[in-house]
């Protein structure tokens, strides 16, 4: 369907206007100008910020520079979470551009993973895809692919090549003709307010009677606090890629069309703004 393919493109090409500012305590030889960049929602911070790093390193002494890390309003940003997820979770109802602070010192070991090279990002990305396929197809589809197909998924993401990526990814979105969907849906639900990193459980897209489970069904099952009581007002927003999909949307459709390139549905539950 043409409409559905448009959704895939809209998801892929989503961008967030961002302003990077150097942390004031970093030692510089000259004044550091802020750096503006449109960040792809579907990518990872350390994959798309080479220019940011170069820009700020120009005004710093060599010995002051170690691994770059990013922070928003005091919260270290996990580079291994997709950019769109980080924005939706921490800054979605604030004014654009998104203001991120850049650090080169005092790496927060407890909060962030290290990212010494692009290989680390690739390994993390592929591990997520494999985990997703373990849930969807008992790893059968990913294991049947050749190494060059895996590489193509990564290259598609790294080089922002939609067609190249989806030429392979579409196979991960298929299911046997006798089934109506995946075995289990790969999803993670994040809430800025809780201690737990995220909620991930087994959830079937099809009910025993054959009906399609919806986003609302998923939330009722694994995160009931996200859904308002019948008589109360909805205090939270359920956000994927910056929008609030209708709770009646079949979760199978969401998984096929609104997953991130890592094949997971990363869902943010955030407080609804009161205005």
């Amino acid at each position: 369907m043409t409409d559905d393919k448009d959704v895939l493109r809209d998801v892929w090409f989503g961008r967030i206007p961002t302003c990077f500012t150097l942390y004031q305590d970093e030692i510089t030889e000259r004044e550091a100008e802020p750096y503006y960049l449109l960040l792809p929602r579907i990518s990872y911070l350390t994959l798309v910020t080479d220019k940011v790093k170069k820009h700020f390193q120009k005004v710093m002494r060599q010995e002051e520079v170690s691994e770059i890390w990013f922070e928003y309003e005091g919260t270290p940003l996990k580079w291994h979470y997709p950019i769109g997820l980080l924005f939706d979770l921490h800054a979605s109802n604030t004014a654009l551009p998104w203001s991120i602070t850049v650090h080169f010192k005092n790496f927060p070991e407890k909060d962030l993973l290290h990212c010494h090279s692009k290989d680390v990002i690739e390994a993390h990305f592929m591990a997520c895809i494999k985990e997703a396929d373990a849930l969807k197809h008992k790893s059968q589809v990913i294991n049947e692919m050749q190494k060059k197909d895996h590489k193509q998924l990564w290259m598609g993401l790294q080089n922002d090549k939609f067609e190249q990526f989806w030429a392979i990814n579409r196979k991960l979105m298929e299911y046997p003709p006798e089934e109506s969907g995946f075995r289990y849906i790969p999803f993670r639900i994040y809430q800025a307010t809780t201690e737990r990193p995220f909620i991930q459980k087994l959830f079937r897209p099809i009910a025993s009677g054959g009906q399609l489970h919806t986003l609302g069904d998923l939330l009722k099952d694994v995160c009931p606090s996200a859904i308002a009581p019948e008589d109360g007002e909805q205090k939270t927003q359920v956000m994927i890629h910056g929008i609030e999909p209708m709770l009646e949307t079949p979760i199978q459709w969401l998984s096929e069309h609104m997953s991130y390139p890592d094949n997971f549905l990363h869902i943010s539950i955030i407080p609804r703004p009161t205005d």
Binding site: K78, K130, E131, P197
Partner: protein
Amino acid sequence: VDVLLKAVGDTPIMKTKKWAVERTRTIQGLVDFIKKFLKLMASEQLFIYVNQSFAPSPDQEVGTLYECFGSDGKLVLHYCKSQAWG
């Protein structure tokens, strides 16, 4: 959560294979524990695999992995000093 640790390749085998681990323990925490137990150097690499198919992120919680990939009341994890399944 009950975890069963299996060695891969020429990685040393743990004398005790079955462990009860808190749900909130992370994979990194488990890696550090295995390294200590096997008297490996902190600088040596250790890879952990679920279902012999993927390596979970170091900050992933064992409880979540058990819920999604556990069977017969336990989570089976393979560990290896080199990359086994990519």
